[in-house]
Symmetry: C2
């Protein structure tokens, strides 16, 4: 499909990670349930995960505007966790620091969607692949190693020093790969992310993840833009991404 | 061996790349010979490779001292190539730019030593692994994909914005991994690299590569420091690196 379209060959496909490649809701809920059981706390893991994630976008906003110096997502996740614990009447000061770190690092241990590893392995034959996520490099590297995500390269938001949808987050990643924006495709389950990537000149692939936020999800059920590629999961994405095998030798392209 | 020593557990092993993991001399010589044949030039690939590499350290020096703004190794490789071509009486202006780029990218296509892929695969079970090289990210990512190097993470000198042996090159890599210097080991075939890493607080592993510079090599034939680990190749390194399997769950360590 991509080769049939005008424009340069797509050399690299970068992925939104939380929600697109891994199921953050299931992973965080399981960690919270385990944490609650060990500490004799009454917490609903699923509800807690949604509340923790709801603070994600607002917590990055001061960094995006420049009101706050860049801090990594691990730092924001910890701050947001303390707030959600507070909402539940739990004083984080009473909890052993190592236990809090373990809970913050639930985001390092997120499970892939069932199709993710197979799809990425297949796509890797035709393109260089990696995450383009708001996660920091340590988080993404540890997640990948644990979940078996076969990335060629791991680019964290602490490498680009920018949070999506800031244009720099896309363009610095493209530049580090030594490519032009039109040679890179972003794959994401979120239309807003794809809009920002397209504005920066990248190619786009929408992957539906209709249960990311649970059974009541109302957003991002369908593609809402003229994306280069649309797929139901990462295996379908890999199969729709046709063209020659990836080669380190660019002569003659 | 490492677990029997005092200090924290080694979570990550980072590798010098040119000479330690890949055979730059063979890869560059083959590309030069192919280039010479296509262009009807009289060049000795082996000799050319050594001359090109001889300009490597001097070309980074102005960047290290701050006399020159950071430029990537791809840029330095190109500048150094033009000089070596000039030494041979070849005006690079007469050569198609795509052909020059192809030759610069010989450094993206370097072959691994025969033990490298097996050793890295084995070590990867017990530690997070990646390059810590003066190569830029695009170079290292493409080299890894082509050579089958199973890195968990790829850190380029254009990510740390420093060239070894600057302390920042080691310490920024450690920091991006979310680790302390004592939790990271540098593996290298060059004693000077290990000295600098040890001074920055990292653990060290020496891997002998006695034919890196050809049959007449006189340097780095033996370890010249009190390194934590010494191995004849990367398979031996992996086998000497004992301890539990790597786990994303750091609770209880």
């Amino acid at each position: 499909m991509t080769t049939a379209q005008p424009g340069p060959r797509v050399e690299a496909v970068l992925f939104d990670t939380f929600g697109t490649v891994v199921d953050w809701r299931a992973g965080v809920a399981a960690a919270v349930d385990s944490f609650a059981e060990r500490h004799g706390l009454d917490l609903d893991g699923q509800d807690f995960a949604l509340r923790w994630r709801a603070r994600y976008q607002p917590s990055m906003e001061p960094v995006r505007t420049g009101a706050r110096e860049f801090v990594s997502l691990d730092v924001l996740h910890r701050e947001n966790l303390l707030e959600v614990l507070g909402e539940h009447g739990i004083d984080a000061g009473t909890i052993e620091p190592g236990e809090l770190t373990w809970l913050v690092e639930a985001w390092h241990r997120l499970p892939p969607w069932p199709d993710s590893v197979t799809g990425l392995r297949r796509l890797r034959e035709r393109a260089l692949i990696g995450p383009l996520s708001n996660g920091n490099l340590a988080l993404l590297a540890r997640m990948a190693k644990n979940a078996g995500l076969p990335w060629d390269v791991v680019l964290g938001s602490d490498v680009t020093r920018a949070y999506k949808p800031q244009p720099e987050s896309y363009l610095r990643a493209v530049s580090l790969l030594g490519l032009e924006p039109g040679e890179v495709m972003l794959a994401a389950a979120h239309n807003s992310d794809l809009h920002a990537a397209a504005s920066a000149g990248l190619r786009t692939a929408f992957v539906a993840r209709p249960s990311e936020f649970g059974p009541g999800q109302t957003t991002d059920l369908e593609p809402a833009g003229d994306w280069d590629l649309v797929a139901g999961d990462l295996v379908e994405l890999a199969d729709r991404f046709t063209g020659p095998a990836w080669s380190v030798d660019r002569r003659g392209r």
